[in-house]
């Protein structure tokens, strides 16, 4: 009887997989037409099989992403089942998507096939790099006091701990856990290392233009001082349009040579209103390191007094003292205006004007 049920389940799952293949295929379609080449071998923990990771190129033959047909075992209490799935990662090893293999749908306990919702949920789980699955061992994910009896095994299978129910596909703890660690485990560093080994200007441009901040940062970290100058426009756009983390990284990393060049410095100063609060502080701090600052820059910043925090204002006022020869009537007028505003800053500006008559 049990064998009959197993056969029927397998047959159903094959039929179901054909239905899901359309869904599965959606992950593949964005890589249609991409050429691929061997990148490196991937050895996984629970299998002796060697999986091959391929580098995929976009239609312009620029490296775009990585893929691998993963064959691995998913084991639980000594029972193992074979799992095959195609995974995709971006140039720096972040999980992008997955695809099932025709005739081999994903299954959960008792070989029940994944539902459409399960497939969707799996993708969301694999995308979550901060998943609780990362920092909990498989034993910590069970509620040992509960038990659920599987139809196909004699031993009871512990039910999932409450805390992780949302972090897994229901009934597929081991598969979810295994796949998450494959998609987000050591492969990430390996891909990052491989990309670094083939790094060139085309990859750099692709990363800097990526909408993903991690790719942007990867590209920025690979840049030397000359790269910053050659790619200034691109970096400058990224600084203004990227998230605050990227913005701050750029502001800290822009080489001294650009700060001391009038052309680049002016652009940077004029970006002040577009920067985050922390970005503005970093910009002012960088200006404090310069031996010389021109009047235009100081004037522009004097127009921004109303947008400065107290600490930023202090830094700016110190700049005026440092470069007092550049303080003109435009700047003074803005100072007097700010001194009369009903803000915290007004008090300091008044004090400053009092002390530096």
């Amino acid at each position: 009887m049990r064998n009959s049920i197993s056969v029927i389940s397998i047959l159903c799952s094959i039929v179901t997989c054909h239905i899901h293949y359309g869904l599965c295929q959606s992950a593949n379609s964005r890589f249609d037409g991409f050429i691929k080449s061997y990148a490196f071998d991937l050895q996984l923990a629970d299998t002796t099989l060697t999986n091959i990771v391929y580098l995929m190129y976009d239609p312009d033959t620029v490296p775009e992403s990585y893929t691998a047909l993963i064959s691995t075992a998913v084991c639980n209490d000594g029972l193992c089942q074979h799992l095959q799935i195609k995974l995709y990662w971006d140039l720096i090893g972040n999980y992008l998507a997955y695809d099932t293999i025709a005739g081999l749908p994903l299954t959960k306990y008792d070989h029940l096939p994944f539902t459409n919702e399960d497939y969707t949920k799996l993708h969301q789980i694999l995308k979550d790099q901060n998943s609780v699955l990362e920092r909990k061992s498989i034993d910590e994910l069970f509620d040992h006091e509960k038990a659920r009896i599987s139809l196909t095994v004699d031993a009871t299978t512990g039910a999932t701990a409450e805390v992780v129910k949302n972090a897994i596909v229901g009934g597929a703890l081991y598969s979810t856990y295994t796949l998450w660690h494959i998609a987000n485990g050591s492969i990430k560093n390996k891909i990052g290392d491989f990309t670094s080994s083939i790094y060139d200007s085309a990859i750099q441009e692709k990363l800097l233009k990526s909408p993903e901040y991690k790719q942007q940062l990867f590209g920025l970290k690979m840049m030397n001082d000359q790269d910053f100058e050659h790619q200034f426009d691109l970096v400058f756009d990224l600084m203004r349009n990227g998230n605050p983390l990227v913005e701050m990284f750029i502001l800290k990393k822009i080489p001294q040579t650009l700060w001391t060049s009038a052309q680049y410095r002016q652009s940077l100063i004029r970006s002040f209103p577009e920067l985050s609060i922390n970005g503005r502080s970093l910009l002012l701090n960088q200006l404090s390191e310069l031996d010389w600052l021109d009047k235009d820059g100081l004037q522009f910043l004097s127009d921004q007094l109303g947008n400065m925090t107290y600490t930023q204002l202090k830094t700016y006022l110190a700049l005026l003292v440092q470069h007092k020869d550049q303080v003109d009537s435009h700047i003074k007028e803005n100072l007097y205006k700010e001194a009369k505003a009903s803000t915290d800053n007004a008090y300091y500006v008044s004090q400053f004007l009092e002390n530096y008559k």
Binding site: N130, K221, N243, M248, K252, S276, T309, T343, Y347
Partner: protein, 592 residues
């Protein structure tokens, strides 16, 4: 002779006509609903009274004042903590014998003396009253009566001298007390150090600037304790908390337990509501710490051969000239990268973007409607964000702000976030009965100064589970470092954080991270121990810092036994020290 008498009388008369006097607000005998806030003394000069009414004006604070009759100009030292094109949120009035001076106070940015008005006094004793008008954090430091129309100085240093002159005080305490060990800071680390030292027979002074022990775990801040007990279960169970939700009133039960257990020790002198204000040194040793009562201004000089800095901000070490660190090191300086999170975890270039401070808060559904006033001064901060309670993620830090020097600004920013978010929540249909239950006004800090010891604890020590010969603290909890949510999503408010958890095996903190490198008789325990920014990530929770305190207590007892310095314990008495820690585990628990 008649001439001499005339001159004396004239001088007395001049004194009478030039009479002025100062009242410290925190010394008011009847505080009403105002709370003593001593958190920012080092920055603005004094504890002050805070009208923390969560939007409802608090009951007046009152003081009886003996005064000579006459006309006086009156000033109050205060600040407008949210200046802008709106009515100041923390407005209050001075009321003298029931007559309110018409000028509303709390209008000017920054701490300053605001003129309250002129008054004619006909009685010898008057009642001075602080009348809160808004319930939104009005603050009053002091009140000054002067026959002349001359305000006291605003400069903090000049004001300190002015205060001393008017109150007949000096910075040098007259009262001196001597102990075997002085522990400054009554959080879990300080309490653990005190208990252990007392058990070992030392006479201990524990100085704490709040009425309740526990630091971030106290019922005033209500963060639950995390981490494991390590070797010190029997000590830490006297002090720790249950795992209630952060901010829960369940904190009160554990507060009672902690207080009871601390008071059992006859050889721990508890100095609650006392705040240290300087360390006095001779060469590389602290010889005494001076402290002042946060309400009555009384001063004591505490002498001891050994001191423990559990202040969190490393004040005792800072004043003594101990080496310290502040900020986030470059990822490359100590090899603390986590590739997965890169710049979010540890920056390529160093900066001051340390983990932030939190204020926890709660609301509840009452069985009747409650109004909540408009808070225009909060809207720039919260914009459209709404919430009905706030836990650990309500955390604020900035490259712009120092967690010590700008703590009041940080606290006030969080309050804007809270009141603004709650206001937005109240505007939603169905929330008419929602009302604030509790909002802390004490900043729960995570990171500021870290005093440097003979070993700087790093992420690598945790990641590699390095076992030291002097491993005294054990932990299993993930290395947990926070970042501000807006860094990845600029639409998020700047007062919300997210956590990154690096899972490791068991890790250990060595004793060498618990005493100062250059101040020879100074221990430290708590979040100001010797570590990098990432190194702090794991051990910063309170059972772990409690372990540090206990470890330091044992070290102090051996220092006393042999008349040596903290470093000598590692260099000459390590076996005995480690043995002492291991064997103390079986001593019976001293708890109810």
């Amino acid at each position: 002779m008649k001439h001499i008498l005339f001159v004396i009388l004239l001088c007395s008369t001049i004194n009478l006509f030039s009479q002025s006097f100062l009242i410290e607000a925190e010394s008011f005998s009847e505080k009403g609903g105002w709370l003593v806030d001593p958190q920012f003394v080092e920055q603005m000069g004094s504890p002050y009274l805070l009208a923390h009414g969560m939007g409802e004006p608090v009951k007046s604070a009152k003081a009886n004042v003996d005064i000579k009759k006459g006309n006086y100009h009156v000033w109050a030292r205060t600040r407008n903590w949210a200046p802008g094109n709106w009515m100041a949120p923390g407005r209050f009035q001075l009321v003298i014998d029931g007559n309110a001076l018409p000028i509303e106070l709390g209008e000017n940015p920054e701490w300053n003396w605001e003129y309250a008005g002129e008054i004619k006094i006909n009685a010898r004793t008057i009642i001075v009253e602080l009348r809160d008008l808004t319930g939104f954090e009005g603050r009053c430091d002091a009140i000054f009566f002067n026959r002349d129309n001359i305000a006291p100085p605003n400069d903090v240093k000049e004001l300190a001298a002015f205060r001393n002159k008017h109150l007949g005080k000096s910075d040098i305490p007259k009262q001196v007390k001597s102990y075997d060990l002085v522990v400054v800071g009554g959080g879990i680390a300080g309490c653990a150090a005190s208990i252990v030292a007392a058990e070992q027979g030392l006479n201990v002074a524990l100085i704490h600037d709040r009425p309740l022990l526990g630091g971030n775990a106290s019922s005033e801040i209500r963060v639950h304790t995390l981490g494991i007990y390590g070797h010190f279960e029997r000590i830490l169970k006297l002090l720790d908390t249950e795992h209630y939700p952060n901010g829960s009133p369940d904190a009160l039960k554990d507060q009672e337990k902690r207080q009871r257990n601390m008071e059992k020790f006859d050889n721990i002198d508890l100095f609650l509501n006392w705040r240290a204000y300087t360390s006095n040194t001779s060469e590389d040793k602290i010889i005494s710490v001076d402290a002042r009562h946060t309400s009555n201004g009384e001063q004591i000089r505490f002498k001891a051969p050994y001191f423990v800095d559990c202040t969190g901000d490393g004040w005792i070490g800072y004043w003594a000239g101990a080496e310290y660190m502040y900020g986030r090191e470059s990822v490359n300086e100590y090899g603390e990268s986590w590739e997965k999170h890169g710049e979010l975890w540890s920056p390529e270039k160093p900066d001051n973007f340390v983990m932030g401070a939190s204020i926890l808060w709660r609301s509840f559904e009452d069985d009747m409607p409650h109004l909540f006033p408009e808070v225009p001064w909060a809207m720039d901060v919260v914009k459209g964000y709404s919430a009905r309670n706030g836990e650990w993620q309500w955390e604020y830090t900035s490259t712009d702000l120092h967690q010590v020097e700008d703590a009041e600004t940080i606290r006030d920013h969080l309050l804007k976030g809270i009141y603004g978010s709650f206001y937005n929540e109240k505007q939603k249909p169905g929330n008419e009965n929602l009302t604030l239950e509790w909002v802390s006004y004490l900043v729960g800090k995570r990171e500021s100064r870290r005093l440097i010891g003979d070993h700087i604890y790093t992420f690598k020590d945790a990641k590699n589970s390095v076992q030291f010969p002097d491993s005294v603290v054990v932990e299993e909890r993930e290395v947990d470092v926070h970042y501000q949510q807006f860094l990845l999503d600029p639409d998020k408010p700047d007062f919300l954080s997210e956590a990154l958890f690096y899972k490791t095996k068991r890790y250990y903190v060595p004793y060498r991270s618990l005493y100062s490198k250059n101040i020879s008789n100074l221990f430290m325990a708590g979040r100001n121990f010797s570590c990098t920014h990432i190194g702090l990530g794991g051990p910063r929770v309170m059972r772990t810092t409690g372990q540090m305190g206990a470890a330091v207590g044992y070290a102090a007892s051996l220092c006393k036994k042999y008349g040596v310095m903290p470093r000598d314990i590692y260099q000459k008495f390590l076996n005995e020290y480690m043995n002492l820690i291991m064997t103390q585990k079986t001593v019976s628990l001293n708890e109810e």
